[in-house]
Amino acid sequence: MKTLLIALLLSLSAIGAKAALFITNNTSCIMIVMIYAHDQNHGTCGLESGRLQINPGGSAAFNNVATINTTNPFWQNGQTATTAGGTTVWGWDAAIVNNGGPMWAQIGNPGSCFPTASVATLNACGTNTVTADWMVMGGNTFIDIN
């Protein structure tokens, strides 16, 4: 039984060569997300994406930083990201989540440009408070907007 539990816990912490970014908007409001990342040519938060719109009940997924070279919201100012060197060299750093109104949540990894993992904004979605969470689990990064 103990072995099973240990195996279970170990499997939770396993990290492979996978480091996708997954975004979920569980609110009833449109959210705009800007993503910050790094690679061998850009330091922490050196890559900055355009504005990604996520509709109510919508989600988005990016396999790696180079995915945004060719898909919405693209990197700003013609930036190009590379996965050269693997996940020890590139990674997701932070994000801004806003709704075009009172919400402006800056979330991210410790030591990044936005080192706070969770930001709650009052009345960010009509009368509802919205919480934007940045979580790294199993090597992947999740932004949950609730």
């Binding site: 996708a20 988005a60 949950d144 609730n146």
Partner: protein, 143 residues
């Protein structure tokens, strides 16, 4: 204390999957074909079987809730989510390589394992892994 911590960890694993997004991430070198399974609130496990979804290498699929499958790619037997789509529950995912199928998912659903290995359509070993990440469910396919 330790026991309590473990219990908490286990409980979080067993938390109901409602209000959960499903993310599929293909980091293998081969295009994959999968189906997802879900059930309506108060429905029977795996009562809904999606049509085939095709994901290229380094491709992803993000489904905020099972209601999104209604329109793309649709459910088999022309079924639709009934009731609150956010209350529907993800049960399993099956991978098909042309001759064999591997199904992973929650225990008590229609899958017997949460992860496994199978040959992909390109002939390489493919891992298919179902895991719970916070409120979300993540399925990773990787060589």
């Amino acid at each position: 204390m330790k026991k309590k911590l473990l219990a908490a960890a286990l409980l979080s694993l067993l938390a109901p999957a409602a209000k959960a997004a499903l993310f599929i991430n293909n980091t293998s070198k081969c295009t994959v074909q999968v189906r997802v399974y879900a059930h309506n609130e108060n429905g029977k496990a795996c009562e809904l079987e999606s049509k085939i979804m095709t994901i290229p290498p380094m491709g992803t699929i993000a489904l905020n809730n099972a209601g999104l499958v209604d329109t793309k790619p649709g459910w088999e037997k022309e079924m639709k989510i009934s009731g609150d789509p956010k209350a529907a529950v993800w049960d399993a995912l099956s991978f098909h390589n042309g001759s064999k199928t591997l199904k992973v998912g929650v225990s008590g659903g229609c899958a017997t394992v949460t992860n496994g290995m199978i040959k992909d359509a390109c002939g390489a070993d493919l891992n298919v892994k179902w895991s719970v990440a916070g409120h979300n469910i993540l399925i990773e396919l990787y060589n």
